[in-house]
């Protein structure tokens, strides 16, 4: 057919651009992902499996999971509280608050880690008091938890604030006018409405918590078998020229990344469907 829409490029331009885009993505994203698994299996499957069950690797996996597991509930609680305050009420300094919530995204992870060394390190503000009471934060798990909290806390809030702003407060006001208490309103109306957005934020925060390197690296002290998360363990193995070990550990993280992408896509699809349903709902007068 010789007919061409007015706003379409010639066929050869479209093919060229598509080829450039796909080629770029394949070379730039696809190849590295593939390389992780190829390098991990370079010495054969048995060597790969042996590297995975190595005690220090196992410990690193568990520590990473533990940190994520502790950090996520805090993120959820903070995200919901911040979004509730920001999306449902007007108060002075609201836009400043939103900017402050974004701050950890702008700060270099290394600087983030360093902030806590200045507070809790041996020569930090609270250092002497901590050592007097024999409590370690820096070069120990608590410090890594705090650093991860800092790095990940905007994710849930940033997802929920725009979502709740779009949804509006009508349904919650309706619940209250029908006699619901605060908790009844929250559990029966608010939470079901934001569950997908909440899950989305949790997925992103979880990926970051599991993969965080810079901030955790600064506060961890790299004590093998004690304060090594999986990404830190990858670094140690790599620097010891244990390529198979490093890439075996990296392959676990890469798999988690793929799981994250899949989960994220599913949730995005669900959310998209819900907004579509909602938009289709709006009476014509309101969509004008």
């Amino acid at each position: 057919m010789s007919f061409r829409r007015a706003n379409a490029e010639p066929r050869w331009v479209r093919l060229l651009l598509t080829a450039v885009a796909l080629g770029f993505l394949a070379l730039f994203l696809g190849l590295p992902l593939l390389a992780v698994f190829v390098e991990a299996l370079a010495a054969g499957v048995p060597a790969y499996l042996a590297a995975l069950v190595e005690p220090e690797t196992r410990h690193a996996v568990l520590l990473s999971l533990l940190i994520a597991l502790i950090v996520l509930p805090f993120n959820v609680l903070f995200g919901v509280a911040a979004a509730w305050a920001i999306a449902r009420f007007d108060f002075k300094g609201k836009s400043l608050l939103i900017t402050l919530i974004d701050l950890p995204f702008a700060v270099s992870p290394v600087v983030a880690g360093m902030l806590f060394i200045l507070l809790f390190g041996a020569r930090g503000w609270f250092g002497p008091w901590l050592s007097e009471h024999d409590f370690r934060i820096i070069f120990a798990v608590p410090g890594m938890l705090i650093a991860t909290l800092f790095i990940t806390f905007p994710f849930v809030a940033r997802e929920l604030i725009p979502l709740m702003q779009t949804q509006g407060k009508d349904e919650e006001e309706a619940a209250v006018s029908l006699g619901a208490s605060g908790w009844q309103m929250f559990w029966r109306v608010t939470l079901p409405n934001i569950k997908w957005g909440l899950l989305y934020g949790v997925i992103l925060a979880n990926a970051r918590a599991l993969g965080e390197f810079g901030a955790v690296s600064v506060v961890s002290g790299h004590i093998r078998g004690e304060t090594n998360t999986l990404p830190l363990h990858v670094e140690i193995l790599y620097n010891e020229y244990n390529a198979v070990g490093a890439f075996a550990a990296a392959s676990v993280l890469a798999l988690l990344a793929l799981v994250t992408l899949v989960a994220k896509t599913i949730v995005e699809w669900r959310m998209h469907k819900e907004t579509q349903m909602l938009e289709a709902d709006l009476p014509p007068e309101k969509t004008q």
Binding site: E171, E173, S177, L178, G179, A180, S181, R188, N193, A280
Partner: protein, 360 residues
């Protein structure tokens, strides 16, 4: 339950939403709060519901102080403009919500809840939709479910915010009649907010016309239409021709007589005369006190004929019955004489003068 509103004022920042509102709503009455957007009608409704706090003044329910009563304890049914149905609950669960969240002691048994909900759905004629979700309903169906949900807690007062605003014309007419019937059956006091004069005049027992946070007039639909208390009410309810009295000497004369009867013309000040298009007669020959005008256009619209006439530079609109128009046989360019049957004169408020005072 009767509602009494005493001296309610409310500001949002520097914007005055309500300015000393006084209003009494007797038990069983259906009242319309009518006004343009931003006139404060929705704010007043939300204050009655307890969703908003007044800066000053009091709300009394059945003579009892309710100003500081929490929304959940007011026993008020509120229907939101965009329904605010719980999107993740079925129609049944939406209507059952108010019963399910009652404290354990007052909560009806499951069988009782089911019966009450199905009765209500029967009342709004939608029991066959019980298992659907809100997104699967049409606008009119959603509106009725929102009503059923509000009625489930057996409120003493029903408050509706622009109940028909988001519906198309045909559904709107049906629902109006239906709401009227429902109100009469339920024996409750109802207040609804609207910007649509036709809706207010057709449905309500009493109409409260609001503008700029103040009440302009309270009265029966017939009163506010036939005997508007202010230029604003005149202009807001129905079409009207506005004349600068000074410009049209002949009309001012008619106006002065009328002014004594209820207008508020200032002595010697600028005055405006208001005449509705259907309250003007057209004569082919000169009449005493008549105003000469030239026919510009004749539009037959269904049962009436709208005639546009020019007097000097002003446009005048007259509505005739088809019979009268046929008898007159008006043609473009023809010179005729106009005689008003009813005129009302007001001292000219500034906002009207700024508009140039041309009729609608």
């Amino acid at each position: 339950m009767s509602i009494s509103i005493q001296n309610i004022s409310k500001r949002f920042g520097s914007f005055v939403a309500l300015d000393g509102i006084n209003l009494d709503i007797p038990t069983g009455e259906l009242v319309a709060l009518l006004g343009p957007s931003g006139c404060g009608k929705t704010t007043l409704l939300r204050i009655i519901a307890g969703m908003e706090t007044a800066d000053a003044g009091e709300v009394l329910f059945s003579g009892r102080e309710a100003t500081h009563l929490h929304a959940r304890d007011r026993n008020v049914g509120f229907v939101f403009q965009h329904y605010a149905l719980f999107r993740h609950m079925t129609v049944f669960e939406n209507v059952a919500f108010g019963l399910r969240v009652k404290p354990r002691k007052e909560r009806p048994a499951e069988a009782e809840i089911k019966k009450r909900v199905m009765d209500l759905l029967g009342l709004v004629q939608l029991d066959w939709l019980a298992e659907r979700y809100p997104s699967q309903l049409s606008g009119g169906q959603r509106q009725r479910i929102a009503l059923a949900r509000a009625l489930a807690v057996e409120p003493k007062v029903l408050l509706l915010d622009e109940p028909f605003g988001a519906l198309d014309t045909k559904v709107r007419k049906e629902l109006r009649r239906w709401l009227r019937r429902l109100h009469d059956e339920m024996h409750i006091s109802s207040v609804f907010v609207t910007h649509d004069q036709e809706e207010a005049l057709e449905v309500a027992d009493r109409v409260v016309v609001m503008n700029h946070g103040r009440i302009e007039q309270i009265g029966s639909p017939d009163e506010v239409y036939s005997n508007p208390a202010s230029p604003f009410v005149y202009q807001f309810l129905g079409n009207v021709n506005v004349f600068h009295s000074r410009v049209h000497g002949a009309w001012a004369e008619v106006g002065r007589d009328e002014a004594a009867a209820g207008g508020e013309s200032g002595e010697g000040g600028e005055t405006l005369a208001f005449v509705r298009p259907h309250e003007i007669d057209i004569e082919r020959g000169p009449v005493a006190g008549g105003l000469e005008a030239e026919v510009q256009d004749v539009h037959p619209i269904g049962p009436v004929v709208r005639v546009e006439l020019a007097h000097a530079s002003e446009l005048i609109e007259v509505e005739l019955t088809r019979e009268r128009a046929d008898a007159l046989g008006l043609a473009k360019g023809q010179h005729v004489w106009l005689k008003p049957r009813q005129v009302k004169v007001f001292a000219a408020p500034e906002y009207l003068l700024e508009d140039g005072g041309s009729g609608i």
